[in-house]
Amino acid sequence: MFSSTLRAASKRRGLAPSHRPILKRCSRCQSSANFMTNTPVKARNSPTWRPVSVLDEWVAKEARPISLRQLMVFGRSLTEARLISSANYVRTELPTRIAHRIRDMQQLPYVVVENPHIKDVYNLYYNAFDTFRKVKEIKTLDDNDRLCEIISDNLKKHLTVIPKLAMGIHECEGLFDAKEMDRFMNTILKSRISRRVIAEQHLSLSETYNSPHFSPGAKLSESDFIGEVFIKCNAKSVIESCAAATRKIARSTNAPDVKVPEIKIEGHLETSFPYILSHLEYIIGELLRNSIQAVIDWHGKHGHPEDEPPPIEVTIAEAPQHATIRISDRGGGIPRQELPYLWAFSKGPHSQQRLANLGRVPKMAATMQELHIEDDLGRADLKTPPYQSSLATLTSRPPDLRLGMGLPLSRVYAEYWAGNLDVHSLEGYGVDAFLQISRLGNKNEQVITRASMDAV
């Protein structure tokens, strides 16, 4: 490690002659040691050389994983002591995890991190790290309030991370091995989910605690949220609300005479499981969005305009350990040339188009209000967070905005909660997407799997 060499070097210079034996062996080191200082390296753009020893300390720590079940159990009976304890967990977890990601970014090729978008993300991360690491131990509710302010501030600032990363990746196409790139993206996105879950959960708990009609130790009813976790996500209602929202978007962006396909739901309609609602809405939204657009396009080319386009069939299957949602469309399938890039963040030959689209994703909350679409996601009767949900800008973008990362990002979310996302294409006919959800919160939860996912 560079920094340890620095420290060793400065130590060596102060050594008494009797300790010279070490120097005899590395006499070359000694002479070069005199050149190693903390002065910044003068390169073209003079990247700031920050003192790295602080980062090293945090990189050396390990992330403490947490599961959905733990999140729920923790929140069930909320007391001041628990809230403070949660605050301290957040206070140390966040900078630890961010430190790891910063280290990852530091090891990317120079040319990649110099890309303006990636550089922005790097700076955002570094500033967040700096901010969080300086927070002192939380002892009172006031301390917690201050922490919550810092957290929401950061959440807001980091809303643009996903589009920026994606843009950066596309621009760096060819400069970096695609597999490495995908691995990096997967890690950083998984980590982002972890951190936001931890942060948002804490904010939500704090808000609950501080709300006027809350009494410590009160039992929460089933229709409630425990923080961000919706205890009883009913698959059918989530699908229905996503379907309504995506159909509406499709309706508004296609010509008036174009028929938008119906979405039929069958299977075990009572299925429910605890989940983070915004995640589920994002995944299902992406899958439905892909299906609807494919059916509209295919039907436009191959079908009669007077005929109804074939409906999209959603099947819900409930088993003891998981629930599976299958979305079957007849939208003509995926061209086989595109299959290799389906799950990759770097899209190969189709990069340029994606790049142009990414620039059009509304980044600021203000823009979203203009579209008035967020309301239709059916969250009016459910809990609306005071802070901007990180997925909202993506979930409600117009369907012709093909970003090329819906599938890989959805898969990151699905796998995050020990689930799975897979897609089978029948080229010339349609696509079947399978979302498998692990029914955490039940006694058989595999904490080991979750822990390994979450320790990032």
Binding site: G267, H268, T315, A317, E318, A319, Q321, H322, T324, R326, G333, R336, Q337, D422, H424, S425, L426, E427, G428, Y429, G430, D432, F434
Partner: protein, 454 residues
Amino acid sequence: MNIIARPGPRLFRLPPLRRIAQPWSSPRTLATHTRGGSSHSSTDYEVTDADIRTLASKHLHPLSLADLVKHGRPPLSEQSLLSSANFALSLLPIRLAHRLQALRNLPYIVVSNPNISKIYDTYIKSLSILLPYWHNAAQGRPIATLEEEIRFTNTLAQLVAQHTDTIPILARGFLECKRYISPAEVTRFLDEHLRARIGTRLVAEQHIALHFSSQPHWDPEASPTPCPEYPSFVGVIDTALRPATVVESCAGFVADICELRYGVRPLLYIDGQPDATFASVPMHLEYIVTEMLKNAFRATIENKSKEPVVVTIAPEPPLPETEILNIKGPDKEIGPFRNDAIRPLDDNAPGVTIRIRDRGGGIPPHVLPNIWSYSFTTFSDEDEMPGSSGSDGLHALSNAGSGVSSIAGLGYGLPLSRAYAEYFGGGIAVESLYRWGTDVYLRLKGIGKIDDKK
């Protein structure tokens, strides 16, 4: 558009190939030729280690459908027939030697098992029959007359017949050797062996089929005329194979068994594009479809579902012209199709995807990781009962040779089917919605060059 499988006799007419399984007894044999290889050199020629080593060190030619059709459509001219014979001769001994090599590398105690050693001996015997031809060819005397060709084809027929029961016998052998070899090693060996076997049999059967369908070759002066019976066939390949027909006939066959065994006859619908056709080996498709339908029907019955099994046939659209023809412009490979792979059959037929969807309740999560292995870790008396999903695959495999037409005892149908599907660059994927049903996706490629699988 929706076709329900009707009960009754199989609709699909099989090529005469099936009769090859019997030793050569056609009256068309020349009178002077004695039956079997016994008068020839099988017992005279001893295979040496050096032979095996030399042959095994040679490159294994990755077989493509184009290879099999490059000699032309039957009836073949004498020259083409001889060329086909020599082509087969150039491949087979090498393939046999590779298999022998693999067998020899198994642990001693495994190969000592009587069943495994029986297979080993069969391979040695087959190689010893072929080597004289091989050596002749190496010395500049390839198969040059029709007489020799007939003798050679006869030999091939024997080869095919001798190796028909390889799989059940190997299975029995590995089962008996459970203690001495790990399941992972067995899976690895069998995966490779079965795939290689597909290729070897295909080369042999293709030549035999071409021979049979080239009757006019008996008169060297006759000019080739289109074969009236199966105009779309080139040996064992049907260039106009209609998957829906295969599905219908296999469904009828499997439904018959269900009726016999369970008293219930599940329904089957075909949708998508039932009239799609593509070029493939009917035998392979039949095997795969039968296995898939066995699984689907059995699950449907056990789950007491009244819902039909739905088979969707989706032919792939052809790639746009600009992507296949790279005659002008930069010399770059831009897609899976290469110009030189498109031989006598000009129509570059893309493949087909077949989805089999049932409402049989899906595959239990604890079974799911094992569906692709020749699993023999769940050995129990349950094997006797129909439909035990944890049934011992290899055990069932070894029962299969007994000829009893049973629908239970599955466990090898999937890995073998996958071997067939992947052989020409396709594949099989299985998705289970536990407590609802299962979807199986079968992708098959048409004519084209395969990725080097071996």
